[in-house]
Amino acid sequence: MEEKLIKDYSSPGRTGYSLPPLEVEKGNLEENLKGYFRDDLELPEVSEVDVVRHYTALSEMNYGVDSGIYPLGSCTMKYNPKRNERVARIAGLTNIHPYQPESQLQGSLEILYQLKLDLAEISAMDEITLQPASGAHGEFTSLMIVKKYFEDREEKRTKVIVPDSAHGTNPASATMAGFDVVEIASNKRGMVDLEALAEVLDQDTAALMLTNPNTLGIFEEDILKITEMVHDAGALVYYDGANMNAIMGYAKPGLMDFDLMHFNLHKTFSTPHGGGGPGSGPVGVKDFLAPYLPKPLLKKDEEKYYWDYQRPKSIGKVHSFYGNYGVMLRAWAYIKTVGGRGLKKTTENAVLNANYLKARLKENFELPYAEESLHEFVLSGSRQKEEGVSTLQIAKRLLDYDQYAPTIYFPLVVKEAMMIEPTETENIETLDHFVETMLIISREIKEDPELVKNAPHSTIVRKLDETAAARNPDLHW
């Protein structure tokens, strides 16, 4: 292994902590706890310097947005502003307990309320909950709201419709909420097939889940027809907000007649991905669904902010407290810094950057859909596959050039898919560098295919045996 495990630094008796003296009487814990006493916990015994060296070494084996381009489709890996980190570390804003009296927390509650107002404005939704701690969490919350809504109306509806291009969390969330999932195929232009939709819509449909633009980066031009069709069937329409970076200042889900939606603060609103979280997935709803939102809901009463627990129709709670507050602080700071006009510029440049990459890459890589696209686009590595090299291998070869690969093999509607989303924070040099690298790789595929097939060569570890990892799992030391 490149860097040994922290426990391999262990030396019996070595310590890395300091606590003040006990000051009170030290009883005999073993006696006091009787059948509950433990003395056999094994944990590393290391010094502070050991810890610092080890985790510093680990960080050096990682690649973040600060390292270079991260063109993962639908992930919106934009720059994470450092001033937001400063805000999120102000002690007066963070050293607070969730059950302190509200009168002591008006500063924080006001920040959260402002965030709600801004999200509502951006989306044209009426009411917002900040409780869900991730996008998928927001999806689940929304589907439970849909469920409660129909239960309240004494309508039994068991199906949720999801396009075949949808992100996996959509059908998974639907299942968690107890719905059956009905998948509909996209049409030849990569959009929702209206006929297919009409065929599955019936009295049993609870909701249609959509993202717009979709995972191909294509805007559903028939969106108002779609939402109308779903509403005519008595069902609701849900908006997956993962792709909001494509429409801020241009289109609003509320105006597309979506009934409810989730936001990803860790995508559109620049909060860091953290290697897999924490994120935050607020949910926005139209007024008629507000009664079902999780409790408590943040409200304002003249000049005072408070948590409203008097919500008899609420679905309950999805998080033990109020959601990922620390992430919300960063999103608040982002919106304050960028401003209204700035958000529109953000969208414009996200779309500009993506279209620029598309224009420069479509000669060498197949573009399966000729439609215009917004902040992301999907290429197919099918030509290269015919030459003997797969999209996976292309992705791994990119790593040799110190760039992160796009999302691969998603969406499922495209063979050998490469889903590319540069975001607005990349400058023309990094975009050109990415294009040049892709062109170099497509030449390598013709001239020296083995080089690409056996990539990566220069990373800390080379291609890892995932089969062995799954067949013989080694999941802890």
Binding site: L33, V46, V51, N95, G168, G276, V461
Partner: protein, 445 residues
């Protein structure tokens, strides 16, 4: 500040390459009807100086725990956070990284998660742990639905000695799976095992226990475990406080099938309740492993035989299994898991042990002094770890208010959840002087 580097000239170059005149041309396909007539009603962007000023102003409208003495617990705990944690997780290769799908560029994150999984196994005594859940409450909820899937049953025994907020989350998730909840009401601060015995049958999916429980008391874990084991299909779910597992027996030793909990106290700080850190661990058995939600990191070798780490067993997850996935979880709490890993490495076995001892002895010191005051009593005097129930004949709210005026938050008013008393939490951060101060103030009231 809009974080866009390209100049007008550079943008024009790009527009030319694409073949359009202006950037607005790229949005032609969006129908007018879905576009607002006015610009976004959000103030123009401000500079960093203004941002910090604004943020500090907001902070001044708060009264943080830097400015007063707090004994609040009830699921979020004020523990010592070593400074080394922030220094390390602030390295941008950690916090600006994505989920480690491209393993070769993410060995740092992956190895750290492997260490985290290992330490959670060490703490809980269980065989397998995942890479984290969103928080303790949702972890408990997903453990309950997991138990329902494994046992193919739908009844859940849910005592009221489990954190009420967790019970709400569990029930919300349970409603998605049509689970049936049997609420067990305890008359004391700890359960009577007979209640479990009376309500368990072969249709019970899982019994949920908290350790220590919401009131700080220890349930009769051995006895309850025996009762549960008699019902072959029923699982035992333990919600454990991880920071106390340096001195408290591992839940695995009581026969737990799944262990979850809130690991915010392992180095994340309070942050008004989020981001938190759910952890989840289960027995090392194929049928449990396949039902476990969340990401899992495994160790393997590369083509040259070098050891490395990958995300594994991904076929349980949403991006492959979609509607048949064990859970929808995608983004979890990876950075907080890293904080916990650094915390546990820093404290080590001795440090965690000492934290547990401080918590226990200090809490008992305070409880004894309070119990000796005539107007107050500690109702679970004989069975608590570091959280206890303070009872008084006075009005709870009034007592809390009067102490607040003396800059002390005495605890969590249990009337908010329909119970009597005030829940008082004592951690290693509390000093003798602070505790004496509380007692002094209480004496006068």
């Amino acid at each position: 500040m809009d974080y866009i580097s390209n100049t007008a000239a550079e943008k024009n170059k790009m527009l030319k390459e694409i073949g359009v005149e202006a950037v607005e041309d790229l949005f032609q396909m969006i129908p007018e009807a879905v576009t607002a007539a006015d610009d976004l009603n959000i103030k123009p962007g401000i500079s960093e100086l203004e941002l910090m000023r604004t943020a500090q102003l907001q902070a001044k409208k708060n009264k943080s725990l830097d400015e007063q003495l707090s004994f609040l617990g009830a699921g979020a705990y004020d523990h010592y956070v070593p400074g080394i944690i922030d220094a390390l997780i602030s390295r941008s290769e950690f916090y600006t990284a994505y989920t480690p799908y491209q393993a070769e560029l993410s060995q740092g994150t992956l190895e750290a998660i492997y260490e985290y999984q290992s330490m959670i196994c060490d703490l809980t005594g269980m065989g397998i742990a995942n890479a984290s859940m969103l928080d303790g409450g949702s972890a408990a909820a997903e453990a309950v639905t997991m138990a329902a899937r494994i046992s193919r049953n739908s009844k859940v025994l849910l005592p009221d000695t489990v954190n009420p907020a967790y019970r709400e989350v569990i029930k919300t998730y349970g409603a998605g799976q049509d689970l049936e909840f049997i609420d067990l009401e305890s008359t004391q601060t700890a359960l009577d095992p007979a209640q479990i015995e009376a309500n368990i049958d072969d249709q019970t999916a899982v019994v949920v226990l908290q350790y220590p429980n919401f009131y700080g008391s220890l349930e009769k874990m051995e006895e309850i475990s025996k009762i549960i084991k008699k019902s072959k299909k029923t699982l035992m779910l333990v919600i454990a406080n991880p920071i106390l597992l340096g001195v408290l027996k591992a839940p695995a030793d009581f026969g737990a099938d799944i262990v979850v909990g809130e690991a915010q106290n392992l180095g994340s700080g309070l942050n008004y309740g989020g981001p938190n850190l759910g952890f989840m661990a289960c027995r090392d058995e194929r049928k449990m492993l396949r039902q476990l939600p969340g990401r899992i990191v495994g160790k393997t070798t590369d083509v040259e035989g070098k050891e490395g780490f990958v995300l594994t067993l991904q076929t349980r997850e949403q991006h492959i299994r979609r509607e048949k996935a064990t859970s929808n979880i995608c983004t979890n709490e990876a950075l907080n898991a890293l904080m916990a890993t650094i915390y546990l490495s820093t404290m080590g076995r001795e440090g965690l042990k000492e934290v547990g001892e401080h918590c226990y002895h200090k809490a008992h010191y305070l409880a004894e002094k309070i119990d000796n005051l005539s107007a107050f009593e500690v109702s679970n005097r004989n069975n608590f770890f570091n959280e206890f129930v303070l009872k008084t004949e006075k009005d709870n709210r009034k007592l809390i208010e009067e102490l607040l005026a003396a800059e002390i938050i005495v605890g969590y008013n249990l009337e908010a959840v329909g119970k009597e008393g005030i829940l008082v939490s004592v951690t290693e951060k509390r000093t003798k002087a602070e505790m004496d101060k509380l007692v002094e103030k209480m004496e006068v009231l």
